[in-house]
Symmetry: C2
Subunit: 436 residues, 2 copies
């Protein structure tokens, strides 16, 4: 960011899309970041802020003079201001709220009371509503007039006198409607909506399922509170996917980005499952200790501990991934879960037989001990079938208990499978070598 080039950069910024500028800001260092940010006019700056994560928003807004802050806040969309305020400490919230114009302040205050993860927490109040007895030409005028501020004008929500949601109309339908109708007669009375307290993920999935551009949010009396647009739904689904992948790997999910922040914090998010599994695998170790005399007699049994543990864990993790994703996308339902379990058992058995046979041959060739080969192969076969079942059934049980199945992380399943596998292995070995 050289001094002489400021004019050039200013022009470039005019031309760039806010999403690209946001990406650029994340990539460059702190000093230049703020300098660059200040080169934009308020409108553009507000648009760029809309694209950024709350932590960076706070950082950039803090760097502004008080007057600039107020100007930019006024231009930001209500739902983004809410996101921002939810990240700030109490004292700063008060200060920022004072800068908002009166009408926005009212909106924001109402929204701030809603839970962050609910549909209400991500909805916007910038939508177009039309009273049910409005004639078509007047409705078109209302769209022209109020549409400028709205996040979408393509869905028009029809309300009665008490602001109850009674219908919906697409702009497409409105402009091709006969001019002598009133909206009540042409609207769709069946509206897919979500409750303000519903989970934001449910709202996003509804938008996905019904291929909507926006979904209305209502309270318990069916009063229209706001809307959630498809771009916000995309953000929610992306965040939830990241959370699911992290949870599957045994990382505690938090509202915000995991990758940034201090290593100490990062470690904190990873330790809970690590420690649970550490103790779990000490139990697996004590299984070995329980069969110490078997191991002392046939020390070669130890050489196959890694391959049995690892393959068992891998099969369990595969089944877990199938189950968790199947439950998340709604492919596994209350109606068909039994057939998935059976199929998984069969797949586990096939995988077990193949891996078991291969391992028997290798063990025989490597150690030249037929008994050992049979024990190792048989243990593999049984262990893999059980691993597939454990990986499929545990997330299903969690789901039935209304617990997010993704918390049954890979590490947890692996630990359960480890204990099972070693018990099978050493029990079989003890029997086979007549050591009982």
């Amino acid at each position: 960011l050289k001094r002489g080039k400021v004019a050039e950069i200013k022009e470039l910024l005019l031309y760039l899309h806010p999403a690209d500028i946001a990406e650029l800001l994340v990539d460059i260092q702190n000093g230049s970041q703020k300098a660059l940010f200040k080169l934009m006019d308020y409108e553009k700056a507000a648009e760029v802020l809309d694209e950024l994560e709350p932590e960076i928003q706070i950082d950039l807004i803090d760097s502004l003079a008080e007057k600039e802050k107020a100007e930019i806040l006024e231009k930001m969309s209500v739902d983004e201001i809410i996101d921002l305020l939810q990240e700030l400490p109490e004292s700063k919230v008060e200060k920022l709220l004072k800068k908002l114009p009166m009408d926005e302040l009212e909106k924001v205050k109402g929204l701030l009371l809603l839970s962050r993860d609910s549909a209400g927490g991500i909805m916007t109040t910038d939508y177009v509503y039309i009273p049910e007895d409005t004639p078509v030409p007047e409705a078109i005028n209302m769209v022209r007039k109020f549409g400028r501020e709205a996040e979408t004008i393509y869905y028009l929500y029809i309300v009665d006198r008490d602001h109850h949601l009674v219908g919906v109309l697409s702009l497409r339908e409105l402009i091709s409607a006969r001019r002598d109708m009133i909206v009540k007669d042409i609207m769709h009375k069946k509206v897919v909506s979500v409750h303000v307290d519903d989970d934001q993920e449910d709202a996003a999935r509804a938008i996905e399922k019904y291929s909507l551009l926006a979904i209305p949010v209502v309270d318990s009396d069916q009063r229209l509170m706001g809307i959630i647009t498809v771009d916000d739904a995309l953000d929610v689904l992306r965040e939830e996917t990241t959370e699911d992948i992290h949870k599957l790997a045994g990382i505690t999910a938090e509202e915000d980005i995991i990758l940034t922040g201090s290593p100490l914090k990062a470690a904190q998010k990873r330790l809970p499952w690590l420690l649970i599994c550490l103790f779990g695998d000490l139990i697996a170790g004590s299984v070995i200790k329980g069969f110490e005399s078997t191991l002392e007699t046939v020390i070669a049994l130890a050489f196959f501990i890694p391959v049995l543990m690892a393959t068992g864990g891998n099969v369990g993790t595969q089944s877990l991934a199938l189950a968790v994703r199947g439950l998340a996308t709604g492919e596994i339902t209350a109606g068909n879960f039994v057939s998935y379990i059976f199929q998984e058992a069969k797949a586990g058995l096939i995988v077990g037989i193949i891996c078991g046979a291969i391992l028997t041959i290798i063990a025989l060739a490597w150690q030249g001990n037929p008994n050992l080969g049979l024990v190792v192969g048989a243990a593999m076969g049984v262990a893999l079938t059980l691993a597939a079942l454990i990986g499929m059934i545990i997330p299903m049980i969690l789901n039935a208990l209304k617990i997010d199945p993704a918390v049954a992380s890979g590490p947890f399943i692996t630990t359960v499978v480890d204990i099972t596998t070693l018990m099978i292995y050493f029990s079989l070995a003890t029997c086979f070598f007549n050591l009982v």
Copy 2:
């Protein structure tokens, strides 16, 4: 599906959303599925088919009489027909194509040549384009006229005489434009577009990034070929997420759903990584064999093999999940990957020190052998730091080599970490117990 209730069910179907009917069809058994499907009129049936997976589409269409097939195909959207045809064997494709009306046939034939995973493979040709010198009132008329068939009328693409994409206009802007303008003067000249050969995931990410409702698809000469709408982008992102989660668990991703299909096929998709890792963990086993004399002297070393292997694998998988997801969402870039590696190393070190210390104490308490406690704890600390680095760096290398980082599946990382961990553990033990 009782005979007497057909009329009732028919009425219910009229009232239900196609997405809900599709869900219902997936859940009920085969016989009733087809019976239910036939109760709908062609338009509704086509809408429901649009929501279903290709396998089920084929199944349902096959159950129809020839005349019905043609009627329904005509009503389905072009991009869905393409999806369907791409699943069918050559001979059936020919038969179905003959049923299409001439104009649709042309469109479909052109699209069929495009790669399935490209932007061209998921685009639709049902869009509204407007020649650049059209006056505003006439443009509004064109939207009214051609809009009925289009997938979206909210973005209007402006083309020149040779169908080059020269601009875009939202319906919102068009209806609020002055009536004496021509579209060329009010359109945006900067249009975000994707190339017909681009990956469909890139197209979906562009829609997500710029919060679009649709993105135009162009050829190398910038000629407009079609559009991809946000609802199709959502489908792509959901499928890609499923693929990523499956790949991470070491399941070979294929175009279609993993959960359905025969158990033999399911086993096939899971075996490649399982077998690679099986051989890898035999190497881990031969590390133990290499230190056989150490193990024979201190048999208690075996009790800690599970906890070291499992915790190492867990840390490696956590780092892998962070890396793969960070790369997929674009959070990790060429500019900042070094700082992520450093942060990961620090996080691994912290986790390693904490787990190592805990394990030292437990080993001491359990086995009452201070040397053993120190060896186990030190091995844990070193192994976890390395595991974090391996899990972060390997996917980054793959990404740099333009290989999807998600193929560095959890099982693969775990195997590499297993071998490393056991080598560290037994080397340390051999030194500590002065057994060299």
